[in-house]
Symmetry: C3
Subunit: 184 residues, 3 copies
């Protein structure tokens, strides 16, 4: 039996949130997560503009009820890109390895990955990761870093995530044990 996991997904875009174009971030996130995880997933979805106070408030609310929150969009150098600022503002701990490795993964595909300011942080017992805006880049990034996510969530007291190895093979040290109770 797999534990149910509640996952927050937030698409951050002025234009998608006002209907100027169709949001493709939330569908891409759900598709990847449903394919990669054995656990039954409950998604909490938000589509919001690039407004730092709105992003912060949304992250705070979703982090309180989810073990993992993924954002897409708003990580570039343009003035309206404020997703990393909002994420850092509400973080308890910053995990610099996620930003480094997400950029290193994307750099294999495009030199402009260097411009991304994505971060990974912990708030309470929730891991928050900023992902790129394009569906293709979302998939590439998750393929590249998700192996460490289940153990990261173990360490902050979340549910025991189990992955489909044909998509991504979660890594846990041999000392890690599967808890009998959720969050134990």
């Amino acid at each position: 039996m797999y534990q149910t996991a509640r996952i927050g997904i937030i698409s951050i875009s002025d234009r998608a949130s006002t209907g100027v174009y169709e949001d493709k971030g939330l569908p891409a996130l759900k598709e990847w997560l449903n394919a990669a995880l054995h656990n039954p997933l409950q998604f909490v979805e938000e589509l919001i503009p690039d407004e730092q106070p709105v992003i912060e408030q949304t992250l705070i609310e979703l982090a309180a009820e989810c073990c993992l929150v993924l954002t897409t969009g708003g990580t570039g150098p343009a003035p309206r890109d404020v997703t990393p600022e909002a994420t850092l503002a509400i973080a308890d701990k910053v995990l610099p390895g996620f930003g480094e490795q997400m950029r290193a993964v994307s750099l294999k595909y495009v030199p402009t990955a260097i411009l991304s300011r994505q971060v990974g942080v912990v708030r309470g017992s929730c891991l928050i990761l900023n992902l790129p805006g394009q569906p293709k880049a979302i998939k590439e990034t998750l393929d590249g870093v998700f192996a460490a996510v289940p153990y990261g969530i173990d360490l902050i007291g979340g549910p025991y995530l189990e992955t489909r190895e044909e998509i991504v093979k979660a890594f846990r040290p041999k000392s890690a044990i599967k808890p009998l109770l959720p969050g134990a």
Copy 2:
């Protein structure tokens, strides 16, 4: 036709700025930029000591009139090395990918690249990058990261830079469009 670009170059060194030895940073920066870019370039040049307030003031002034500011020198761990501190102090946004990738590039040549504290930031509509002090390392670093610079400058509202592909091939996503007017 290519748009004219105004580029600030700052050599930061107590000894070079007082004439103890000849500055080799500014010539190396100009040589690389002239070779790499099709655009007509106007350089604003400064040779200043390792004094944080002086560096900050110089960065503020040059960022107000340039689309790109490159510094050389003062990024090591020694007490007088304060270029990154000054750069961060006047930054609107930090782009951690530049520091990471500049070090990763230099690490291919020397293990001590790990000691460099170079950063890349945005101030207003100017991209600022800290480069190493040695002409050889300046060239290696620019060869390694410049492909992302033109699109980065597009995103913050600067002129449309075009590179000579035999030196460096600028990368822009297919969605990027060449503006009809400068800074549009």
Copy 3:
């Protein structure tokens, strides 16, 4: 003749410091350093719990008398992991290259290296590095980054460290000169 070097080593663990299990961090650090360095070494050893004020105070004391301080433990994402926070709190300068490169080295062995928040900083004339908790990972990390440590210590005014090349080959630029007097 080799200069004597004083090195602080700190094992940070609630369980080891209260005797719940045996500390393996300090022996692993001493073994590696004794094998890698020609210099006669004086170790200052501490075994302390994951309490940020205790870690900060210990780092301050050891940094005042050592050229190098290595910590082991407390760098993960769990709430009790506060070694990086303590290290950053007492730092004069942060050297981001060490965190980046230590994670990059560990990533060759385990995907969960991305979760480590290790930092490298300078305080006064002391270099401080956070290492992982496991003896195997301590060795892998030091093997991977120590080549830059002797020159880093030169630059902040410490003793001239000389390594055994079969373990690690210290790198110094050709312009670096061996001082005649300690710390000169």
